[in-house]
């Protein structure tokens, strides 16, 4: 475009470039390739993300179904979301999922630390624990319906451990325990994946650091505290943040295992039911918008928090490098001494 205006301005002195010539020039080619390469992804992004986002916002002010008349109702949908006990109350369930993700993070951090060092059969253990991540959601639904059925897999294993069947609850029906059962399936599915991420982060730490620490006589726990934890702080923080937004939008376990029955309907399960089964599209849109607002607010808060953490992490990094230099110096001394 710049080339074209330039030729127009200078048309008195230079021979005016025709569009054909411009198209064959480097500038023309550049624009052409940019348009050709970006048009499809941008159209897809617009049609399947931003257009629906805008439409959803519009829908939330109407009383409507996917087909037929729609009636403008103003903010009524939003008010109803807060009034209906099945909508907003369902957000309480995300506390279970937050608890689950904390357990999951701790567990995968422990396993990653163990597996990052030499362990016999390490890759086999890693493979076993990671594989659940690759199973599709519906299959997981069936596997765990089967697993938790009265007298089936879970009950049998507990009976091996000495529990009596009469004392065991119905894992998916009993309202005091069924959400924990569901969260368990989610932990089962993702702890291996988290573990692999953490192993990747731990492996990126300089191996000399561990050697130096070992020679200094630091125990495993001290190594974990002073070397591993500081160096993978970023990825842990990131995962904590992801797990908070993830818990708010928990959907899969109840959707595929209990279908939201017996008080397991999370916010998204209720929203799915309202939009696609009852076809109250306006109400469901309002629910979606409210949750998106909460997620955005949470994300912004986390960004601020993250910045703060990063700042303090940098300060500590300075300390860490100082410590590392000390340790390396000691290491050199010892080698020289021998």
């Amino acid at each position: 475009m710049a080339a074209m205006t330039q030729t127009v301005n200078n048309s008195g002195r230079h021979k005016k470039r025709t569009f054909g010539e411009w198209a064959r020039s480097r500038d023309g080619q550049k624009v052409f390739v940019m348009v050709a390469f970006m048009i499809i992804p941008l159209v897809l992004l617009f049609v399947f993300t931003y257009l629906p986002f805008a439409e959803m916002f519009g829908f939330s002010f109407y009383n409507m179904k996917y087909t037929g008349d729609r009636k403008f109702v103003g903010l009524k949908n939003y008010i109803r979301v807060f009034q209906r006990s099945d909508c907003f109350g369902a957000l309480k369930l995300s506390l279970y999922y937050m608890g689950g993700s904390i357990v999951q993070l701790a567990l995968s951090l422990y396993l990653a630390t163990v597996l990052s060092f030499k362990v016999k059969g390490g890759s086999v253990f890693k493979g076993f624990m990671f594989f659940p991540y690759l199973i599709n959601g519906i299959a997981i639904g069936f596997i765990f319906k089967f697993f938790y059925t009265r007298g089936f897999v879970f009950d049998t294993v507990l009976q091996w451990c000495g529990f009596s069947l009469d004392n065991l609850p119905y894992w998916l029906k009993d309202q005091s325990i069924n959400n924990i059962s569901l969260v368990g399936t989610s932990v089962w599915r993702y702890f291996g994946q988290n573990m692999v991420l953490f192993i990747g982060a731990i492996m990126s730490v300089d191996a000399e650091l561990y050697e130096a620490a070992m020679l200094d006589g630091a125990g495993r726990f001290q190594q974990f505290k002073y070397i591993i934890l500081p160096s993978i702080k970023t990825i842990i923080t990131l995962n904590v943040i992801l797990s908070i937004t993830g818990s708010l939008s928990a959907f899969e376990p109840p959707y595929v295992i209990t279908d939201g029955a017996n008080g397991t309907g999370t916010y998204f399960v209720v929203m799915h039911e309202i939009s696609h089964t009852q076809q109250k599209v306006g109400l469901a849109s309002a629910m979606a918008i409210i949750l998106l607002m909460i997620i955005f607010a949470a994300t912004i808060l986390q960004k601020v928090f993250f910045k703060y953490v990063f700042k303090s992490a940098e300060d500590e990094d300075l300390n860490a490098t100082a410590k590392r230099d000390k340790k390396l110096a000691k290491l050199a001394q010892r080698k020289a001494g021998r």
């Binding site: 970006m38 931003y50 959803m56 163990v114 599709n136 089967f146 990825i235």
Partner: protein, 284 residues
Amino acid sequence: MNSNGSNKGFRYFVTFLKYLSLVFFSFVAVLPIISCVITAFKTDTEYQQTNVMVPPESWFNFTNFTQAFQRANMGRAFLNSTIILICVLVASVLIGTQLAYVLNRFKFPGNGLIRNLFLFATLLPGVAMQISVYEIMFKLHFINSLPGYIIMMCGTDVIAIYIYIQFFENISYSVDESAIMDGASYFTIFYRILLPLLKPAIVTSCILKGVGTYNEYYCANLYLQDKKKYPTVATSLYTFVGPLGSKYNLICAGVIISLLPALILFIFCQKQIYSGLTAGAVKG
């Protein structure tokens, strides 16, 4: 304390605990799957009369597998899933690498804005978006249409784009420059020179995207409603909801069939899967 090796007993104990925990959590991870395998080989009477953890009489009783395969129309499902997988992978590799090429190699106003638009899109949870995507799919006549589903699946892959951009950053710009000096067009540079160099990144993102597409069931269930004509492997398992819902020997066989491709891929491409995940997570 004891870490100097003065107390051998304590160290053995710690090692023992370490392996115990590894064995325990591996057991927890595979137990649900193992119990499914056991049950899948049982005949109806065996299933009703024996405990779920008792091994089957014969490990060669494949009747449940053949029955599940037929009942759930899994031949058709595998065909559909293969078509979807190939189309989505080819399309999203082309779209993703081209976009990453432009975003990485050309400076133009709006470059940062486009990157941010793609990043922001990851914040919107998929399930919530489908409320209004459904309406758009409906208007485009994309419901019960394999091409429609494929097009929708192509448009939502930000992590791959970031893997590509990261990779482009490591390919020196002098490669492009020398080709430009030789008079090569941008298309030639991209297809003949850069795309082959990008192969490791393409393999990584294909494995991730492939697993995701093969396992996708929420949108497949929503948009490919005609389960007779358009089952995918994941949605074909819905056959077992309802009257067949308690015949777990049949269901388990279906589940095992559906996860075999993932298992085979996992056995052969473990390394790429792990590294792909790590690469995706750092940027994503």
